[in-house]
Amino acid sequence: MNDNVLEKLKTLAESAKYDVSCASSGTTRGHTKGTIGSTSGWGICHSFTEDGRCVSLLKIMLTNYCMYDCAYCINRRSNDIKRATLSVSELVELTIEFYRRNYIEGLFLSSGVVRNPDYTMERLVRVVKDLRLVHRYNGYIHLKSIPGASQELVNEAGLYADRMSVNIEIPNEASLKRLAPDKNFQSVLQPMQYIQQGALQSLEERKRFRSAPRFVPAGQSTQMIVGATPDTDKDILNLSSYLYQRPTMKRVYYSGYIPVNEYDNRLPALKQPPLVRENRLYQADWLLRFYQFSVDEIVDSSFPNLDLEIDPKLSWALRHPSQFPVDVNVADYELLLRIPGVGVKSAKLIVTSRRFGRLSSWQLKKMGVVMKKAQYFITCNELPMHTINELTPERVRALLTNGTRKVDDAQLLIPFTY
């Protein structure tokens, strides 16, 4: 290893950084004798970039040469950028040495497509196989599958990776074809299907033989670019919700479009990546996954885009004043989750502690309820009756958005940690 590797590492990190998913969660695996490393259920961020993103995995491409020409991608064939390729042994050594110094939780490996999908996929498989079998590496591996790779190779990769992903990137097939002429939904959904089949089959087999090999134990994920096409939040969230219905789909990531190829006029000219919209989509995603909301409650044809000014839960609440106020001392858990300012944790705390006596607003605050928001939507022991019904939704909205500091992001702000 020498400074040449340093240059390659920088180039390939530059090329890989726009993939937002960095989760290393989903598998808990203690060490076994003769191996290096472990994975811990929630994943650990070992550093944070200056843009605030979690650095958990060594996120890198094997090569940034690519034969495709996707309009939104910095590595597209027609771009004149620095190109590099790491050898399998360089990549393996980097992973192990970074891992042993506690810099990373593991490896997130992807690649541009060279020669053909299978040729590329095969080299990716060689890296993970080498890490696992030769170097007895037991840490986390996330492998990005190459669109169009064969089922055999996906199946082999799945034996060594903790998680696999295939990025859908554009939430609408017509837009995808326009921007990425070499891809279509089929080339993305097919490998997703292979991963799912492999995982379900392995689960089945492990029921019968405990020693049957695991297959992507942390499931799969995907990513959509937001703001590169005219698609609405309704399009995006409907696709997410459809993907979440698939048994192994663990996470959908949203990536505010960063104009890396400004010259391409198929893409909008944005001054700034749509970060607020991206954040709202993550919040909506959480409502789908943890707050028992259905997608039609969050967006529908009369309300196709999320409100940028307030979070999607508050927005739902303001559109449904008749559901409030909720009495925190008696309401079901599901109903507590619907209160703006009440998170999963505080809802659980409320349910367990109200058995010891009626709760007051002071106690709610202590449990992490954001009273600034929640006060308009609840009744508890002593609260005055200034709820949404007396004040009207418009007034509550005005009170909560009233120029000053945004209170509203505290509750649901999603760091890129899980």
């Binding site: 340093l6 920088k10 990190a13 950084k17 070992h46 110094r101 506690n102 960063i258 010891f356 106690q363």
Partner: protein, 254 residues
């Protein structure tokens, strides 16, 4: 006012609980060996730490609260916060006196306060796990300095033992001047007289492995390339990665 004087150890605190129940006398104030007593007090009780007594209190608590609540006590103790001993004393007393487990009564101020302290300790524990940066030494050991606000080193050993069980490592708390050495089998508490590192925890040149600086350089290069300039957010950055850790992180060094 009743004052208990003890040796400011966790065992000593458990002994104090034992003695209080044995003599039906409860402290209004806890003092360490060297602390000056207040101007007026009615009685000063001397506590002699006794492992049999402390074990009995511990086992008694085991029957009254769940294991996760139980281990919050020594964890909170490691916060070293002023007054945490009195809080723990009150909490244990409530746990012993209450007819059913108190741990879920978040309406109770002491329960909530203990939970809060435990959470901060746990957060610091997690941060150490996140931000430890090992450096390889000439003899192939992995060394890291830490300087946590709370005394959390004992709480991270299991994690590092599990993850790096096939490498020798040494974690050193420079603030409290002690550490733990793992020899691929067990961890031992150590105190180092000769410090072979600078004020930023960097190993001296002749103590570090030959390729150590190169890997730091690689990591730093990687880290800088990962930043997306269009999204820079210094406030969020500092919130996630508190400045007090920076000096130990190769990627944040100049």
């Amino acid at each position: 006012m009743v004052v208990f004087r003890y040796d400011r150890s966790f065992e000593g605190l458990l002994t104090a609980v034992f003695d209080a129940y044995a003599h039906h006398e409860f402290p209004d104030m806890l003092l360490g060996e060297a602390d000056t007593p207040p101007l007026f007090f009615d009685e000063m009780v001397r506590i002699y730490t006794d492992s049999e007594k402390s074990t009995r209190v511990w086992n008694g608590l085991k029957r009254r609260i769940s294991e996760s609540a139980l281990y919050m006590l020594p964890d909170a103790w490691l916060s070293e916060l002023p007054g945490v001993d009195m809080l723990l004393f009150k909490y244990m007393r409530k746990a012993i006196d209450a007819p059913c487990s108190i741990e879920l009564n978040f309406g109770d101020a002491d329960v909530m306060e203990l939970l809060k302290i435990w959470k901060s300790v746990d957060k610091e524990r997690l941060r150490v796990i996140q931000f430890v940066r090992f450096q390889k030494t000439v003899d192939g050991m992995f060394f890291a300095c830490v300087e946590p606000v709370y005394n959390v080193l004992p709480l991270v050993l299991d994690h590092f033992k599990d993850r790096f069980h096939d490498q020798k490592w040494l974690l050193y708390d420079v603030k409290r001047d002690y550490g733990f050495f793992y020899d691929e089998r067990v961890t031992t508490e150590v105190h180092l007289d000769a410090k072979q590192w600078d004020e930023n925890g960097r190993l001296n040149e002749d103590s570090a492995a030959t390729d150590e600086l190169f890997f730091q350089k690689l990591w730093k290069g990687y880290y800088s390339s990962m930043t997306i300039k269009e999204r820079i957010n210094p406030r969020l950055h500092r919130q996630n990665l508190p400045v007090r850790f920076w000096k130990f992180l190769p990627e944040k060094r100049k």
